[in-house]
């Protein structure tokens, strides 16, 4: 698999403030790369550096295998982007804004604009000036603008900001479609773990300008085992029954009210029956898995090893 984005020890300093420090990341062709980090972690700055809008103070960037230098414009033809809250020419209509975009990008395909507006479910408002748009509509229009030239690489900074829950779900499936059907490579940043977790193939965790970890979702999923959590008012009895009567050894008592069973061999029904028959007061049984959130918190709290390069 080829790498569309590759940075080496990329840094950006504003005066005394280090905004991005020694980031070496790789985004491979055809994947959705989730950029995860709290506000102010340097996600937007990094994306702006990829677009050549902000010049690095150290390190280097390669896009599509070519080094990005001040004045390089070729790779920009192949990139769609939405950085921060999207800006438009407010007095122009949605359609005029997209037309201008296509003209500047040198992209001419009839129906491209209509198709993009359909993909983000913005139909029937093409003729409205953008200044009348709500936050969510602007966000959708921003995505439409980013994808209307069918770019190979899509940089999206907090793309679901301002969308309602339904919109978030639609956008999520749109991103998956863009990747699977149109073969686009996506770099999506977010501070919302749950979002990234659901969509990304690879995750880069950025904190205070440093790339803490770059890891594939698959390896996170496989390394984190599922567990079944029993809520009970009598954890001691519960533990005894599990151990002595049901032959389950791989469990952990959590506080005074819960017992977690890892890699359970029996079904949930069998477990439930076993507990009830032995008079364990069970209030709930839930199957859970370690979420990315826990993984992420572990990483940032533990001050995890800085992954300068992979």
């Amino acid at each position: 698999m080829t790498e569309l984005i590759r940075t080496r020890l990329l840094s950006k300093t504003y005066g005394m403030a280090d905004v991005v420090t020694n980031v070496s990341m790789k985004v491979r062709s055809g994947e959705i790369y989730g950029f995860l980090g709290p506000n102010g972690a340097g996600k937007s700055t990094l994306m702006k550096m990829l677009l050549n809008l902000v010049k690095p103070t150290g390190g280097e960037i390669e896009l599509f295998g070519e080094r990005l230098l001040p004045g390089t414009i070729e790779p920009l033809k192949r990139i769609g982007h939405m950085i921060e809250a999207p800006v438009f020419y407010e007095k122009l209509t949605a359609e005029q804004n997209l037309e201008l975009h296509c003209e500047y990008m040198g992209y001419h395909r009839s129906g491209a604009i209509r198709e993009a507006l359909e993909l983000v479910q913005l139909r029937g408002i093409e003729g409205k000036p953008v200044k009348q748009f709500s936050l969510g509509m602007r966000q959708r229009l921003g995505i439409a603008r980013a994808i209307c030239t069918r770019p190979e690489l899509l940089l999206l900074d907090e793309p679901i900001n301002g969308l309602d829950p339904e919109g978030i779900q639609e956008t999520r499936s749109l991103f998956r479609r863009l990747c699977d059907e149109y073969g686009m490579t996506l770099l999506i940043s977010s501070h919302m773990l749950a979002e990234i977790e659901q969509i990304a193939d690879t995750i880069g965790v950025l904190d205070r300008g440093r790339l803490l970890q770059e890891v594939s979702m698959e390896s996170i999923r496989s390394s984190k085992t599922d567990y079944v959590e029993i809520s009970t008012t009598d954890v001691k009895l519960c533990a005894f029954v599990l151990d002595d009567r049901l032959g389950i050894r791989n469990y952990k008592i959590v506080g005074n009210t819960a017992v977690r069973i890892y890699a359970m061999s029996m079904t949930q029904e069998e477990l439930f029956k076993g507990l009830i028959l032995n008079d364990v007061p069970v209030t709930a049984i839930n199957r859970r898995h370690h979420s990315l959130e826990e993984y992420f918190l572990e990483l940032t709290r533990g001050g995890g090893g800085y992954a300068a390069s992979h």
């Binding site: 702006k48 677009l51 050549n52 809008l53 902000v54 010049k55 001040p70 004045g71 414009i73 070729e74 920009l76 033809k77 990139i79 982007h81 950085i83 800006v87 438009f88 020419y89 407010e90 007095k91 122009l92 005029q96 037309e99 201008l100 975009h101 003209e103 500047y104 990008m105 040198g106």
Partner: protein
């Protein structure tokens, strides 16, 4: 380049520009007619000694107006894009930043140049016709006078177009619209003010060298545009 200019016109709506200049012509013309009609019949101290002086005032007024008008255009085309952050959009396009800015600046240059010449032609003609009927200003209109004035208008228009870019150098520092416009007003006050029939712009070397300075400083200020950060 031509394509980029076309896109700029699309962005700013071309009819708006045309109306803008037509209204400006009207205001200048109205103002001059007011002076001519009110002051003209007073014979003791005529407002204009000659046709040349009358045409000279018309030219000065037109240049002053369009140098300031140009600063408004600069604010809209260049400073405005920085303020509205749309510049981040433009600079992420596969188009050289220098070309983008040159397209905008040449629009301002051509706009000022064309308007000064066209306005002089229209308003000057109207006034000569008017005066042929009312005769408040003495003297005959010779072809020599017209040719001399024509040459002067073209050189002054070139000078004005170059000078109209000067405010950008100041305005770009803080990306400020007021700074841009105030600079243009200052330039007008210095160059176009008329003191007992004398103004700095009548020494043609002064406006022409200011024009050259305007063009030079503009080139200097966009020379490093590829290296700047667009936040």
């Amino acid at each position: 380049m031509l394509h980029l200019i076309k896109l700029e016109l699309k962005k700013g709506r071309m009819t708006g520009y045309l109306w803008g200049s037509l209204i400006t012509y009207g205001v200048i013309l109205g103002f001059l007619i007011l002076i001519y009609m009110v002051e003209g019949p007073v014979q003791e101290e005529p407002i204009f000694q000659s046709n040349a002086e009358m045409l000279g005032l018309i030219d000065t007024l037109i240049r002053a107006t369009f140098i300031i008008y140009a600063s408004v255009l600069l604010s809209k085309l260049v400073i405005g894009e920085f303020q509205n952050k749309t510049i981040a959009l433009l600079f992420a396009y596969p188009v050289s930043r220098k070309k983008l800015l040159l397209a905008k600046l040449s629009m301002v240059f051509i706009w000022t140049l064309a308007n000064v010449i066209i306005a002089n032609f229209i308003i000057g003609t109207i006034f000569l016709t008017l005066n042929a009927n009312f005769g408040y200003v003495q003297g005959t209109v010779t072809s020599g006078l017209l040719i001399n004035h024509g040459i002067s208008i073209v050189t002054q228009a070139i000078a004005a177009a170059g000078m109209s870019l000067l405010p950008l150098t100041i305005g770009m520092r803080k990306k400020s619209v007021p700074a841009t416009i105030i600079t243009s007003v200052l330039i007008v006050v210095i160059v176009c003010s008329n003191n007992m029939g004398f103004s700095l712009s009548s020494i043609i070397a002064i406006p022409l060298s200011l024009s050259a300075l305007g063009i030079m400083l503009t080139f200097l200020s966009i020379r490093n545009i590829d290296r700047i950060d667009v936040a």
